[in-house]
Amino acid sequence: MDCEQIARDELVEKYLQGRLEPALESDFQVHVLECPECLALLETCEDIRDDLAPQAAAIEQKSEKPFWSLGGLVVPRRTAALAGLACLAVMVFAVGVRTGWIPGRGGHGTDISKGGTVQPASGGLAAAFPEIAALPSAEQPGIWKAINSGNISYPSDLSDLRGKPGTLLGESPEGASFRVLEPVGEVVIDQRPLLRWQPLAGAVRYSLTIFDTNANPVQASSPLHFTQWKPTHKLERGQVYQWQVTAVMSDGKSVIAPSFPSPKAKFRVMDQAKADELEQFRQAHPESHLVLGILYAEAGLLKDGEHELENVPANSRDFALAQQLLRSIRESR
């Protein structure tokens, strides 16, 4: 093992999380004992972890300081940069059209300006996405709408799965806290989904319980030393579940996540027919990342949808639309 492998494979991060495979862990420990640079790196990363863990929620809520402000109007650095680029692009485009360098119409063929259309705006667009015709006819309008408008229609129960934060009557309780990471407020296709949560500094073990909609426990983990777990038995398709993690601290006290006023961590396991339909389409069109991304997201599989949209190549015709849809999914979370 060498310093390069440690940096490349993020081994310090994995050691911090207790996620290093046993064989690698031994090699890593020997290397740290022999390499002052990697020892200093480990100590620094531990400092970072210990400093950031208690202020996780506060950091996530922070946004960049405004780049420019005038009266009540504040413009973040990133927005200012994007606005600048957009202005430049518009000017270049206007000059291009005026000089005949860029044709006035063309491109994707999407007709967003007409709004509300749920069909391909042109025969060219239908030809650009022939795989959509292979979908059940009930699915097709939603896909065309997303392509035409850049917006995704989510399943109606997604807002129930996400829930709403409660309101505390008084001050919030102080003390250690941590968050569940995924799946939360979304649909999963796997009947044994991977459940992940944030590590809690000082926790000696975790346990996890999955409940049905009547709050009856349906599965519980044995004590865990890692921050992820897969249910040992398959969960029922079509059912909604909620889950919580209990961290036991070294003084024997317990900390539960999610805890009030955070919403409950719920997810739904996709029903069999829909899972089969998506899998069939994926197998037939594995490279159709844009359509797969939309299909997944519209079925509530937000993470899978994001993953597919991220796989749209940057030099592809669909890249700009994929980025727009990605932003739409992330903003909806």
Binding site: A7, E10, E13, K14, Y15, L16, Q17, G18, R19, E25, S26, Q29, V30, V32, L33, E34, P36, E37, L39, A40, L41, L42, E43, T44, C45, E46, D47, I48, R49, D50, D51, L52, A53, A56, I59, E60, K62, S63, E64, K65, L181, Q198, P199, G202, A203, V204, R205, P223, H225, T227, V248, S250, D251, G252, E306, E310, Q323, L326, R327, R330
Partner: protein, 180 residues
């Protein structure tokens, strides 16, 4: 003298009863063992005790000349540390009701407490000078354990930008606080 020659010399001198070599063994590996233990155990006092246990076990064997390949001294010490850390974690798992408050009262060192608090304040101040996006990258990477690809997706940035920003932030903090 290179690392292997140093290891061989240390092991042989300890076997010959050189008490200064035992001190050198501790100064060579003590900080590393403590860091490895502290990261996993997340309890400074317990990590300190465990470091002592590692050296007690190692010295017992080294004095008796039981280490046959002296050039593998680092691997030998790391192996003992690895086992003791895992045993500690397993014991904690079996016996969570640990009277920690009492042991902390008995063993905590006010000088160390003060230095440690001061160090934490400096780390917080330095991390506070980073841009919010960099703080988020560090948070999601070191606390949440998210892969860089997922962090890049969350921030709408490229994988390379996230990797560069993270390594620049870590380098800055390491330069400030890391003791090489």
């Amino acid at each position: 003298m290179d690392a292997i020659s140093t290891a061989v010399s240390l092991a042989e001198r300890i076997k010959a009863g050189d008490s200064a070599a035992e001190g050198e063994l501790f100064s060579t590996y003590g900080r590393g063992i403590l860091a490895l233990a502290r990261v996993r155990i997340r309890n400074f006092e317990a990590a300190k005790d465990l470091t002592q246990d590692v050296f007690t076990a190692a010295l017992k064997e080294l004095r008796a000349g039981k280490l046959r390949e002296c050039e593998k001294l680092s691997a030998y010490i790391a192996g003992i540390a690895h086992n003791l850390i895992n045993n500690f974690l397993k014991k904690q798992f079996k016996r969570p009701e640990c009277p920690l408050d009492e042991t902390e009262l008995a063993t905590s060192n006010p000088v160390h407490e003060h230095e440690s608090a001061d160090h934490r304040r400096q780390v917080r101040r330095e991390i506070g000078t980073l841009r919010i996006v960099d703080q988020k990258i560090l948070l999601w990477s070191f606390v949440d354990g998210l892969p860089l690809a997922e962090i890049a997706a969350r921030l709408g940035m490229s994988h390379n930008s996230v990797r560069t920003r993270k390594s620049r932030a870590v380098r800055k903090l390491k330069k400030k606080f890391g003791r090489v």
